[in-house]
């Protein structure tokens, strides 16, 4: 374990009627001062977990430069795609009204398409060994039979996607990648508005004062902040590091 690793604290997931009380979610601490290290750390105490796609002892690092940022986006798109895959397998979606059903089905399509795009794009721009492996996820804290749980999680993921792309744009060096990131982020923002619109009560939630500031600017967060927040969800099981991303 020579790799710089940040402190990992175990915290219990927020109680929910469907949550497995045995499940511990891991929360990363001390990110701000650990400029050299970020680790999404899985529930290693579970013996029934599938084996890591990486060889033992090796933790994938997202890499540097544009490839690192593309891997970062690929990780987020994998997360979103996996989430909506679970949504469409769940009983809430099966019984949802026509509008909600269509919206979630479209979001599934879009996120899977984004995921597959990044997989191909990174593969075309880097060695095979530099392409982020397929990540494993754990959505046991989400109740896919429950509208609030599904739409509430979707809202967080879509707003996070918008904030992530907005914050990563300046880190890209290649204009074509910036344009493609722009093509995707506005679709994520359309998603976020739609989910907020159907889920939250307020007529102004689609671009609510909770996310849009007094200058009329949307969220923008750097990769370290986003990866910390994503780590806190407990959704990502596969470990990876982000030690070399551009700052």
């Amino acid at each position: 374990m020579e790799k710089p690793r940040i402190k990992v604290d175990a915290v219990t997931a927020k109680p929910s009627k469907n949550s497995n009380s045995r499940r511990k979610f891991l929360k990363m601490g001390g990110l701000a001062m650990a400029g050299s290290g970020l680790l999404l750390y899985g529930c290693s105490d579970d013996d029934d977990m599938n084996p890591d796609p990486m060889p033992p002892g090796e933790v994938f690092d997202l890499g540097s430069g544009d490839v690192g940022i593309l891997n970062y986006a690929y990780a987020l798109e994998q997360l979103e795609a996996a989430f909506y895959t679970n949504v469409l397998d769940g009983s809430y979606w099966a019984g949802a009204n026509a509008e909600e059903k269509r919206i979630l089905e479209d979001l599934y399509d879009h996120e899977v398409i984004h995921r597959e795009f990044f997989k191909a794009a990174i593969g075309a721009n880097a060695e095979v060994s530099q392409v982020l492996p397929e990540l494993e996820f754990d959505f046991s804290s989400v109740n896919f039979a429950d509208r609030d749980s599904v739409l509430g999680t979707a809202r967080v993921l879509e707003d996070t996607g918008v904030a992530a792309y907005n914050g990563a744009g300046r880190l890209l060096q290649t204009p074509d990648f910036l344009v493609i990131a722009g093509k995707i982020v506005s679709v994520e923002a359309r998603h976020a508005a739609a989910i907020r619109s159907i889920y939250l009560e307020s007529d102004t939630a689609f671009a609510g004062d909770d996310i849009i500031d007094s200058n009329g600017l949307d969220l923008a967060k750097d990769p370290q902040t986003i990866l910390s927040e994503v780590g806190n969800t407990g959704f990502v099981v596969t470990e990876f590091t982000a030690n070399n991303l551009p700052q």
């Binding site: 479209d106 399509d109 879009h110 344009v179 093509k183 506005s186 671009a207 007094s214 949307d218």
Partner: protein
């Protein structure tokens, strides 16, 4: 004037009967075949007649921000006038949505003016009738509400595409991130307006009304005159890869997954339709 030729088309297609009565009023436009030929032109190309933007010949980033400011002036004034018009149903969702968007567009104006500093430009004089073609702020116009919704959607989707098209000109500047932050707000607006329009015309479950753009489809009830705002959105090739072939998903789904940019020139042409003068 070319703009007049598509007057009738800028009405909700779901309100055909009312549109017909308007046609009768406009005897000079009685020749439908002739008019149909004209509406192929509208939003994009009708406005090349010297209504250029007052842009200083500074660097690319300055020009990009000046274009953005002009579009924000257009949107900000539009929403203020829409809210003052009495056309929107009072106290309903539409009014709340327009209020929220208005707040953002006015904030964008101030933000860009400040950012541009000495390079800031004054607002052009806008003509939201586009030379008499529309009458969106007139409560006595049966089509006013539909026109307000259609114009809002067209302006928002134009804004999304225009900011995206200028991102490259802002690379390496302190303005890139704020421009991206405005860009995604415009996309949130565009998504909401599309669903609001659908709700008003009872098309909520229409697959083209959920908040994203399918192929180059402008959405149910959207006037043909706005088609230039959506041309090119049908693209399915990203990074040189045809994603329909690569993923097995439909062209509809792939096109929805990516919003396409427009050039500054096209953005100016679309916005120029609503610019009355060039004294900015």
């Amino acid at each position: 004037m070319d703009i007049i030729k598509f007057l009738d088309e800028f009405t909700s297609e779901s309100l055909t009967r009312k549109a017909s009565s308007r046609r009768e009023m406009l005897g000079s436009l009685g020749n439908l075949g002739k008019k149909a030929a004209m509406v192929a032109v509208p939003f994009g190309l009708a406005s090349t007649s010297g209504k250029a933007f007052a842009q200083s010949s500074g660097n690319d980033a300055t020009a990009a921000l000046q274009l953005a400011l002009t579009l924000e002036y257009l949107e900000a004034e539009f929403y203020i006038k829409a809210l003052d018009s009495g056309v929107l149903p009072s106290g309903g969702r539409a009014e709340a949505v327009y209020n929220q968007i208005s707040k953002h567009e006015s904030a964008h104006v101030t933000f860009l003016q400040t950012g541009l500093g000495d390079n800031s430009i004054d607002s052009p004089e806008f003509d939201f009738t586009a030379g008499g073609a529309f009458d969106p702020f007139n409560p006595n116009n049966d089509m006013a509400y539909a026109q307000l919704l259609a114009l809002a959607q067209a302006f928002e989707d134009t804004g999304v595409r225009a900011y995206k098209g200028q991102a490259g000109n802002l690379m390496g500047t302190q303005f890139l991130t704020p421009a991206l932050q405005i860009h995604s707000v415009e996309a949130r607006h565009a998504s909401e307006i599309r669903r609001l329009r659908a709700d008003v015309i009872n098309e909520s479950s229409n697959e083209n009304a959920l908040g994203w753009i399918t192929l180059n489809n402008r959405g149910p009830g959207m006037p043909e005159a706005t088609q230039a705002v959506y041309d090119g959105e049908e693209n399915v090739v990203q990074g040189g890869v045809n994603l329909v072939d690569a993923t097995g998903f439909s062209a509809e789904a792939v096109s929805q997954s990516y919003d396409e940019p427009i050039s500054g020139e096209v953005a100016q042409q679309i916005a120029g339709l609503f610019i009355a003068s060039n004294d900015g």
